[in-house]
């Protein structure tokens, strides 16, 4: 979002309270959504639940194209459309809701840095495994990504997206990595997160912050998604404090509030549909 648009949005946003009919859009849950998109969506949902702001989840096949920045998820609040967790955090802050106000400067710097760590390493690793590993791409990613479209558009779109992601990997220097190295990076990232979390309930002691939402979104999705190999899941499972962290957040924010399968992180174990 450009700076001017942000300022404009903040002004408008500050004026109105959070409406009842706020909606979050993501790709189709059963057939289309991919690991990375699901993680990002879950992170936003967790964040909004932590703030206590109600949001409904709508699944649309063209959610990626509807989004103003091309990334999912995005929320439609009032008559504004905001996408990606970073911008959504700013948006909610402008409306007066925030989780990280009580942090001091050093802690805030660390929080932002760790959020970038998740984006830089975990998210990129997820994208790599989905699109650059030929096995996963052929068996899971391409069929899922192209499922709403008819022939030959489905192949064109899937290959186009794959080419784009590979170019990005090239530009940031991940193209030369092997799958093993990527798993190593994931392990390192999880180790860093685990170190930072230590034995605390949340990353910054008693209160959850957007960092907790982001980490939960990614780790929970990795733990409950079946890919062609279980190695990714195993890497995360080896850190027990991260496991209990995910369980704790799931229990606090997802099970206790509503039980319907619409927004439930409960039946997230996709099992056969991703295999």
């Amino acid at each position: 979002m450009s700076l001017a648009a942000e300022a404009f949005v903040s002004q408008i946003a500050a004026a109105e309270p959070w409406p009842e009919n706020a909606t979050l859009y993501q790709p189709l849950r059963e057939d289309q959504i991919l690991l990375s998109d699901c993680a990002s969506s879950l992170a936003v949902q967790a964040y909004l639940r932590m703030l206590g702001l109600p949001v409904r989840v709508h699944c649309r096949a063209n959610a990626e194209y509807m989004s103003p920045s091309g990334k999912v998820p995005f929320i439609h609040v009032g008559n504004q459309v905001v996408s990606e967790l970073g911008t959504i955090v700013q948006f909610t802050r402008a409306k007066g809701h925030s989780l990280s106000d009580s942090l001091d400067d050093v802690q805030r710097a660390e929080m932002k840095a760790y959020m970038e760590l998740v984006n830089n390493m975990l998210l990129t690793a997820e994208m790599y495994i989905q699109w650059c590993d030929e096995n996963t791409a052929a068996e899971i990613t391409r069929p899922r990504y192209s499922s709403p479209y008819s022939w030959p558009l489905n192949h064109i779109l899937a290959y186009q997206k794959q080419w784009e992601v590979r170019r990005k990997m090239n530009a940031i220097g991940w193209a030369g990595k092997s799958l093993e190295q990527v798993y190593e990076d994931v392990s390192q990232c999880c180790q860093a997160l685990s170190q930072r979390l230590g034995t605390q309930p949340f990353f910054f002691n008693k209160q959850p912050t957007e960092l907790d939402a982001l980490v939960f979104g990614h780790l929970f999705t990795i733990l409950t998604t079946r890919l062609t190999s279980d190695e990714l899941m195993e890497k995360v499972k080896s850190y027990s404090n991260l496991l209990s962290f995910c369980r704790r957040i799931e229990q606090t924010y997802f099970e206790s509030q509503d039980r319907d399968s619409q927004s439930g992180a409960l039946d997230f174990s996709k099992g056969p549909s991703l295999m």
């Binding site: 700076l3 920045s69 805030r108 710097a109 840095a113 970038e116 984006n119 830089n120």
Partner: protein
Amino acid sequence: MAAPSELFCWKGSWGLPSVDTDSLIVLAYARFAGTPLKVHKISNPWRSPTGSLPALKTKEDGSFSQPSKIIIQLRKQKYNADYDLSAKEGADTLAFISLLEEKLMPALIYALWIDPKNYAEVTRHWHAENICFPLNFFLPSRMQAQQLDRVRLMRGNSTLEAGEEAEKELYSDALECMNLLSQRLGSNRFFFGDSPSSLDAYVFGYLAPLLKIRLPSSKLQQHLTALENLTTFCSNILSLYFPDENQERIGHPASNVQEGSNFDREPYKRRKQLLSVLVAVAAMLGYAFLTGIVAIEHVKEEGLTGNTTSTDLNDEEE
């Protein structure tokens, strides 16, 4: 240990050991860890063993290119500047490096390569002067295209163009990042305790070019100079670990360097102008003679001295 490895990196200018961020990172880390390295400062990426700079060439294990891979290799050789860090500090290192790469790197690339004024006056000029002929004609523009592509892919915006909007977006992220770094550094000398680590190398690599390279238009530079602890941090590292670069420049204060470079440009400019005019005139004359528009006739003047040659300019075509 075995014979020292060789490091190929970009040349330095403006008081920096190298003008390229990645090279600076590797050089700084090597100095922090006390690695004996044979450093080759070159300005032709094609001469490096991997085709890009920086590159580490080891005797047994081959060559490596990106800073992260080079640092891992150096650690394998037991030159580890992060030895004293606690696990949490190690985690923080990873996090802050990610912050730098996501928020500061695009803005830095924009300021050096994409901003039109900076690119034309500083970056392209430096590369054109320092890369050898004939690569200096096309390599800078190719590098610029690659860097623009890279920023576009990193930000996920394939229509990003040099302009106010892109500048604002990238710079706001970068300014925030610098503020966060400043807050994290506080009043410490280095990020973790009293001895520098790899995070210090990374921060130095990104901030030092902003500090030292004089860019005509840069809000980033202004903001950085306002953050005193970061400027002290960079100058500290330069004076402690790269004292020889500073000494070279001590005798040449900034204004002299400016004039010097202007003066250097001048005779070349004149020479180039003269040369191009001569070439043009020669081409025209050559064409005229070859097509017969102009012909030299021998006219024997009777009654006068023996062989007088006079040039007759005919305007007719033969």
